[in-house]
């Protein structure tokens, strides 16, 4: 059951990214280009997503357990540290250079095109290195 729910929610997540325009790197770059042809529509994606999760997460976390699991697995770190800021800063540079963040890049693998394959392969390499230093 847990595998089916994860699979179905992965599909819904991907459709959301696609409809939202997140799998269009040019749209991401125009959203980040506040000094140029700024395209603010992606702010509505973040707004729509966070409005739903911001409202539902506290209600869900009042339960003792998730519906299909023994416990909620949540990040334990609370401290803002240099690794957080440096890591997020580097991520933003890569995001601005490519227009891809991890979710849309994985979804775009479906196109089977070289740019996405190259990006995701090198992202996977970066992830496995970065996680050793966290």
């Amino acid at each position: 059951m847990r595998l089916i729910s994860a699979f179905v929610l992965g599909v819904v997540f991907a459709l959301g990214l696609g409809f939202a325009g997140m799998t269009q790197p040019a749209k991401i770059i125009n959203f980040l280009d506040v000094a140029g042809h700024w395209d603010p529509t992606l702010a509505f994606v973040m707004g729509g997503a966070v409005a739903v999760s911001f409202g539902l997460f506290p209600v869900i976390l009042k339960r003792r357990t998730p519906v299909l699991g023994e416990r909620f697995v949540l990040p334990e770190k609370k401290q803002v540290d240099a690794k957080l800021v440096v890591g997020a800063g580097l991520f933003g540079i890569g995001w601005g250079l490519s227009g891809y963040c991890p979710g849309p890049a994985v979804v775009s693998l479906a196109t089977g095109t070289w740019p996405v394959l190259v990006f995701v392969t090198s992202m996977a390499a970066g992830l496995s290195i970065g996680r050793r230093f966290r």
């Binding site: 847990r2 939202a20 992830l127």
Partner: protein
């Protein structure tokens, strides 16, 4: 920006937030893509299957988009492969080091009222905007 693109952006966002809430409600997990993928590199014992199922769902969703809404994907020339490889390394290393990306810190972390995620989101939005500024307005297309 027109009414239709605002509505599809909002609708897409609601699906993303809904899927993230569903994964917390049903599986008790955070829908952070860099974390879910990173947890497969390498897979941990007894832990990898739900991650694989979610990633498989993302790929199947991508195929469905390709079949029903191909406009979701670009048709124009991408940046050079060298630039994409460098960007991929930065995105992977950065999200690995800071434990999250747009979904984990942005959508789920803000929903948990996490200060770490708020700081991360402001930081990657800031350096992203700064990078695009340098590429588009300082280097002006001299960088592919």
């Amino acid at each position: 920006m027109d009414a239709i693109s605002v509505l599809t952006a909002l609708g897409g966002g609601v699906l993303i937030g809904g899927a993230a809430s569903g994964l917390l409600f049903l599986n008790g997990r955070i829908a952070g893509i860099s974390g879910i993928v990173g947890g497969l590199l390498p897979p941990q014992r007894g832990e990898g299957f739900w991650r694989l199922a979610f990633v498989l769902g993302l790929l199947v969703g991508g195929v469905l988009l390709l079949r029903t809404y191909p406009a979701a994907f670009p048709t124009f020339q991408a940046p050079s492969l060298a630039r994409l490889a460098a960007a991929g390394l930065l995105v992977g290393f950065g999200t690995g080091l800071s434990n999250g990306c747009t979904s984990g810190h942005g959508v789920c972390g803000l929903a948990r009222r996490s200060l770490r995620s708020l700081v991360a989101t402001i930081t990657f939005m800031g350096t992203g905007a700064l990078t695009v500024y340098v590429v588009n307005h300082v280097l002006r297309g001299n960088f592919r």
